[in-house]
Structure formats: C-alpha cells, structure tokens
Symmetry: C2
Subunit: 342 residues, 2 copies
C-alpha cells in the first residue's frame, strides 16, 4: 500500500473519482458492480496484466515509465481487443498491487492518466481491488464493451479469397521501443517523437472495428505482430494468407529508419504492439472498406488475400513483388533487434 | 512463465481445458470473450487480487499453501461478493503473474482446484492473461454473475427498524487462520479440522443471496469482519445498527476455543473472511427468512436491528445482554491476536 495511506483513503482519494460517473459502479462502496448491456447487445470482456520490470519501469527504476503512459497502455491494449471484435467500450475494473514505497505522486499521475483516457473513450471505472505486494508494482485490467448479439467479429470467420486489410501503419511501435532503448541514434527529432508516441500511446481502432461488424469476416488486433496475429486468424479459420511485403503500410518516419534494408522492414511485420486491426473481408466489400477509412480518417490498406493452405498449413506467407516467399523470423522484439544492421 | 513452457503451451495445457465448456470463451483463442446475460438480467462483476507472501504462501515458501486452496479462496471470495448482491454466477477471467521458477506441478494443482470449483458452482473460465514476474506469484480474478434488472441487493437500502441477520457462524475462519499460525495448540483434532476447513475453503452463500432478492433491504458479505461489513451497510444507508453479542452465532468448535473469554469472543466479530452474508430485512419478512434458512439448509440468525444513529454516527454498536455497549477493536487478524490470552 502507498506510504501513509490505508486502503480506504487510497480508494476515496484516487479511485472513487474515477468511478463517480460510472453507472453501476455504486461509488466503489458495494460488493460488486452492475453492468447492463443495451437490449439486443452482449458483453465483450478483455483482460490483461502488466508488471513493472517486465512491461514497464515502475517506481524505483532509474528511468521510470511515466505513470500516465502505463495507465494508458494498459487501458488501450484492452480497448484494442474490443476494437477487434467490433465492440463499443463501457467500463473497466482494475486490480493494483503496490509495493510499500509507492508514493502518492506516482498514484496521482497514474490516476490522472486513467481519467484522461476515460474521458477520451467514454468509459469509467467499475470496481477493483488494491493490495500491497512485496514484489514489483503489478496491475490487471478487465475492459468491458458491448456488441450486437451474435455480431462480434471473431478470428475464425475468414474465407477463401477474402481480401486481407490492415489499419494505420505497421512497425512504428517496435521502432519506438528500439528508440526508447537507445537504438538508431541518428534518427531526427520529429521522427523520434512520432515513433515514440506510437509506442507509448497506442490508438485503439474502435471506430474502424465498430463499422466492420457484419461486413468483415474475421479480425484481430496487432499485438503480437502482424504476421503472428494474421496467423491466429489463419489458425482459427483453418485457411492460409498471402501478403505482399511492399503493400504493408509503413509510416514515412519508419521508412526513413529502415531505408531499403529488407530484413529490417520484414521484421516490422513481426515486431508487435501496433494495436492496429488486421481483418479479412470479401471482395464485394472493397468500396465499403474505403468508405470506412474515409469516415474514420484511419488509413486502411489491402495487403493480401486468404488462400487455400498448401503443405505449410494454415499460415501466413510474406511475398516479394515477384511472388517469391520471404523468410520471416519468429517475431517479437528480440528478433527485431537481431535484424538490425550492426 | 513456468519452467520450459511458453505462453501458448501453458494456455493449451492448463487453461484451455477450463474454458472448454464456457459459452463465449471462444476457446481462449480470440481477442476477448463474449457474455450475454439472460433477457431481463444484468451483469454483476466482482474483482480481487491475491499475492503470494501477503494472502497465501506461494511456490518457494517453506510451507506453501495448497495451490488448489489458493484457487478456491480466490474464486470463492469473489463468488461471495456475488452472493451478497443476490446474483447467480456465470464465469470468470484470470490473470496470473508467475515467477520463472513456477513448476508445472504447482500449475497443475492450481488448475485442478479451479476445475473442481467450476464444477461445483457451474461456472467456466472466460479469458485472461499469463505473464512472468520478477516478484511473487500474483493472481487477479474477475467473477461475473447475473441478477434481475434493478434487483441487485446493495448496501445502501437498510431502513429504520429492519432486523439484522447473519448466515452460518461467525469467527471460524479467523480461528482457522490462528490455528494455521500455530496458536491454540490445545484444540482437539476434530475442532482443528473443522476450523481450518472453514478458513481454507469458505462457502459462498449463493443460494441464500439469490432467495433474498426483493426481500432483503441491504446485504454485504462478511469479508472484513461482521462489525466492519455491517458498518459498511450503516455507512451506505446512513443509519446505525445495534447487535447483541450473545445472539451472534458461533460454532461449537469455536465456542470450545473462546470459552467464556468475552474479549476473545468479541474479536471473532472483527476477524474477517467468514464469507457469510449479513443482511437487513423488515420485520414482516421474519417467516420468509426462516423459510430461506430451511430451504437452503444454511442457518440464518437474527442478531439485532437497524436504529436511528445517535451522536456516534451511522455505526455498529455491540451490546451485552443488559444493553450495555461493548468495546470492539479495529478489527482484523492483528487485533484478534492481541485479544488472545497470553
């Protein structure tokens, strides 16, 4: 527990204000919270945990992560899961395990980050639990949303000949993480700011996901990496995907970093935490998808199609412009670093 | 992460089986889970976290807590919150943060404890997240239930002259904890077994809570201690409560431990974690409450009434048979230990 504060003071000072306008939170004074989806809607739930020293640098680290960024990344990665299913967010619960030396300044900044995102996404705190821990600061968030009954976009609906699309740009986040870790010292200030912002404060594509309900056949959010997450769609749908490397949208800032280094560009596809949406839709939906991009002001790019799976199984193939299959690594940040020029 | 297992192996081996029969869990392969309350019902959510070294002794401790008991206590304390609102449980999410040296035997026993309770309470795993931690094993559970719209029993509904009731017996759990810590070495084997079982494997009073919907005015589960939790009802309802010490139900096993030591008996009322229900209902409901006790085979005892609050504010007064107010401590296990004879 934070220095000098008991659990009740802590809740009333930092967490009750986050629940003040949440219907069903009952002021955090009851045994549980109540949530009612609208008539004809069902509830969608996404759960995630973040640990200091694993996912961020908490209090006590030499260069601690901004507590507001921790709050935002925790909320937004879950909101991104809701976006992938086409859901509209309603609220969240939070359990927070704090070392005894957590100070009030940290808590105040963390709660402020939550409050700002609550306002941005129209959600509120529903309930939770705070406890002390002899270990690192740890938080666990469940975010709740709603979607029309039986309309959630799931991973297993992809069909043969579907187009494959991705929102936004891919690879900025892993480059931002690399910059945070001191890689690419030559990057100019504007690009650095842009890539770091993409890593620190991802944008869940809720508007895009909501519009895709009933039109997309399958969707996932890009958290493990484009190839891995499209691979999850392949696995769940028992069908393969071919995507073209040159079609994958990359920001100008990222392009200036990877230049014409093909292994490095390929590794952007496995870097993870883009929190963009990858989805499949029939060819008949092409005009509709462009309309969604226009209305939501989020670029949506067609990068490939779903194909029958050959001997390789229901997997993703990344192709060059001549149609040759390119070797992609296992994904993740470690692989990304190994792809960098020495 | 557990030794030698990656996250996907871990999920498919230990957690996917827990979600196999859960509608809406989508085999744990999707971005989020889907839950639909029945028509006319709303969802109730309770969240709790447990930390090794604070709430139990995890892997690595000299006398580790049985992993199945950890699983059960985590689920049941949340189910007890649902019981207090009159809800019927549907499912739960779990986030688990594991030290690198967590072994598979621990995980297997933990998952087995979850599975047994899933079967007992008719619930299933909906989703979650597993990550590694450099700190102690930590778990966070959200349990979901449903209750008829606007019928959840909340803490703020108590009225003047309501009777105050409590289910089961009070104080067994804190005595079980004391026995676990080596106190009261003279207790006989049968009593020891009974009290330890009450501490290790609490019984959420779901059947009682569900029957009380529309009849009880206010309810809470006894987690912080009878006096504290009835105090929460007082605070939320802005009304006071008088309860009679001699009316508070205590098990024969507990009576043999506390004998005629009044401070020790009083401290049972502040010990916590009984996971019984304390509730208020109008005098007109007396016959109905006895019918509930008979039907659910759970004793329910009338222990006092709600009264106008005097200078002391909306608080609980514990009275002796002559109507004199008794001094009760702050509650919690530390206070309990201080009440023991040296």
């Amino acid at each position: 527990m934070a220095q000098g504060l008991d659990e009740f003071e802590l809740i009333s000072r930092y967490f009750a204000p986050l629940a003040r306008d949440t219907p069903g939170a009952l002021g955090l004074t009851d045994d549980a919270a109540v949530v009612r989806p609208d008539d004809g809607y069902e509830l969608v739930i996404s759960a995630d945990a973040l640990v200091s020293g694993v996912h961020f640098s908490g209090p006590g680290f030499a260069t601690p992560t901004d507590p507001a960024d921790i709050a935002r990344r925790a909320l937004r990665s879950n909101l991104s899961d809701l976006a992938a299913m086409g859901a509209t967010p309603l609220g969240y619960t939070l359990t927070l395990q704090m070392p005894d030396d957590t100070d009030e300044a940290w808590l105040a900044a963390f709660a402020d980050g939550l409050m700002r995102d609550q306002q941005e996404f129209g959600i509120g705190l529903l309930g939770g639990d705070t406890t002390r821990t002899p270990g690192p600061l740890t938080l666990s968030i469940n975010v709740f949303g709603q979607v029309s009954e039986n309309k959630a976009i799931i991973r297993s609906g992809a069909q043969l000949s579907d187009d494959v699309y991705v929102s936004g740009t891919i690879g900025d986040s892993v480059l931002g993480l690399a910059l945070e870790n001191g890689d690419f010292p030559g990057v100019n200030d504007a690009d650095r700011r842009e890539l770091l912002a993409r890593y620190r404060c991802p944008q869940p594509r809720l508007g895009v996901g909501q519009r895709l309900v009933s039109r997309a056949h399958a969707a996932a959010d890009v958290s493990d990496g484009l190839v891995a997450d499209l691979g999850h769609i392949c696995q769940a749908s028992q069908i393969a995907a071919d995507i073209k490397l040159s079609a994958v949208p990359v920001s100008s800032a990222a392009l200036r970093v990877v230049t014409d280094n093909q292994p490095l560009k390929l590794s952007l596809l496995t870097g993870g935490e883009d929190f963009e949406l990858v989805f499949t839709a029939p060819e008949s939906a092409r005009a509709f998808v462009q309309e969604v991009a226009r209305d939501t002001v989020v670029p949506i790019t067609r990068i490939g199609r779903m194909v029958a799976h050959r001997d390789a199984g229901p997997k993703v193939a990344v192709l060059d412009d001549a149609g040759n299959r390119l070797e992609v690594g296992d994904g993740g940040y470690r692989h990304f670093r190994e792809s960098q020029p020495r």
